[in-house]
Amino acid sequence: MRTVDARGLSCPEPVILTKKALEAGESMYQILVDNPTAKENVTRFATHQGYKVSYKEEGEDYILTLKK
């Protein structure tokens, strides 16, 4: 499972990093973000790419899990 750490970055950077990582075509990813806008945008993008997205909050951060 590949992990993308996009904490502290503002949009669209978390989505760009996610997009780049998804190009590897792996079936599972973990994306770390720390603001709700990034969480929503990454989720929307990954959903459109055919991934199932779930998330949990950990302190200030959101940990998104993308599965295909």
């Binding site: 993308v4 750490d5 904490r7 502290g8 970055l9 503002s10 949009c11 669209p12 950077e13 989505v15 760009i16 990093l17 997009k19 720390d34 603001n35 709700p36 806008t37 929503e40 945008n41 989720t43 929307r44 993008f45 959903t47 459109h48 997205v53 200030e60």
Partner: protein, 360 residues
């Protein structure tokens, strides 16, 4: 989240866009300048003038819409627990980019928000603005794809995240108290003299600020996300504002199609386009349009607060150095400043796109 959540978000932003477009036309009805129910650039410029940082007598008034936008976003962010003080992502760079964004906006005579409102009022000069705006955004996207970043932000103290909102309340108090050292455009003295009643402007700002916070509405993000990811959510909000403002203008008889004689606008197509190209490029580098920066500042983002202060500095410079256009057209100084701005932003974008090999 799944596809239906995505759909819900899109419906919400379209509804918000329709309400915001209607409010913008309503503000003109209640006294704001024509096609200027909202203009973040113009309103920050007016407030900057009222505080005495520039002395263009025609454009001096503390605009409660700006205070309302920040306050509305702040309150809703508190309610939804999205208030998170953060900052430290290249604040000085952001300040400089914002200065040039303002200079670009004042070449065109409007921020991206007013660009839509001008088009909705029949001011076809805005079409050149949109052309340049899209060009500027595409240029910014090239750098985003090359890895442009201003690096990450960090958590800040609560006071640091709140202080900008408090500052807005102080500015509002200065409007209400109107001490002698605050400058107000005299009646019939220019756009600064045209404004809705304080309460109406403030409530309009509060509502729009809250809606924009909730929906993440952003004028520059819309086109950017479509180009980068094929994402239409933000752009649909942008289009909804256009539709609602157009209908509102048609109903109230404000629709006045043409190029010449448009309110607070000039007909120099090339410089309308280049001004908005600078603004669009800068906004992509900043991560959001001027309105979005106000909303983020309300949410506790101190980088956005610095950006807004940079916009204000840009407005002061634009009027002190004779860079801002008028109905007669652009100035020679303004043209030079826009070209300098494009070069400066290209350098900033290039310097922040270079990455060490192996770094993610």
């Amino acid at each position: 989240m799944n596809d239906s959540t995505t759909k819900k978000e899109t419906i919400l932003i379209i509804a918000a866009g329709l309400i915001i477009g209607a409010i913008a036309v309503g503000l003109v009805f209640f006294g704001n300048p024509a096609n200027m129910g909202f203009c973040i650039a113009c309103f920050i410029r007016d407030t900057t003038g009222a505080l005495g940082f520039h002395s263009a007598a025609a454009v001096q008034y503390i605009r409660p819409e700006i205070v309302g936008l920040v306050l509305g976003a702040f309150i809703l962010a508190l309610v939804t627990k999205e208030f998170k003080p953060r900052g430290g992502s290249a604040p000085v760079t952001r300040f400089v980019i914002a200065m040039f964004v303002m200079i670009g906006c004042l070449m065109f005579l409007g921020c991206p928000f007013r660009m839509i409102l001008r088009l909705a009022g029949g001011d076809f000069n805005a079409l050149f603005g949109i052309l340049g705006f899209v060009g500027g955004i595409l240029l910014g996207v090239v750098f985003l794809k090359k890895g442009y970043t201003l690096k990450r932000s960090y958590s800040m103290q609560k006071t640091e995240g709140t202080i900008f909102t408090v500052l807005q309340l102080v500015i509002l108090a200065l409007l209400v108290a109107a001490p002698a050292f605050i400058h107000f455009t005299e009646t019939d003295g220019g756009p600064g003299a045209k404004h809705a009643a304080i309460g109406i402007s403030l409530v309009a700002g509060l509502v729009v600020g809250a809606l924009a916070q909730r929906t993440r509405l952003c004028m520059v993000g819309g086109i950017r996300d479509v180009v980068l990811f094929g994402e239409w959510k933000l752009l649909s909000g942008f289009l909804a504002i256009l539709v609602a403002a157009f209908i509102g203008n048609a109903i109230l008889g404000f629709w006045n199609p043409g190029f010449a004689g448009q309110p607070i606008a000039h007909t120099d197509g090339l410089w309308n386009a280049l001004g908005m190209a600078l603004a669009g490029f800068g906004c992509v580098l900043l991560g959001g349009c001027p309105m979005r920066q106000l909303v983020l500042a309300g949410e506790g983002n101190t980088d956005s607060a610095v950006t807004v202060i940079g916009l204000a500095a840009g407005a002061a410079i634009a009027h002190n150095f004779g860079l801002a256009s008028s109905a007669e057209g652009p100035t020679a100084n303004g043209k030079a400043a826009v070209l300098v701005g494009i070069v400066v932003l290209l350098v900033i974008a290039a310097c922040n796109s270079i990455r060490k090999k192996g770094a993610a």
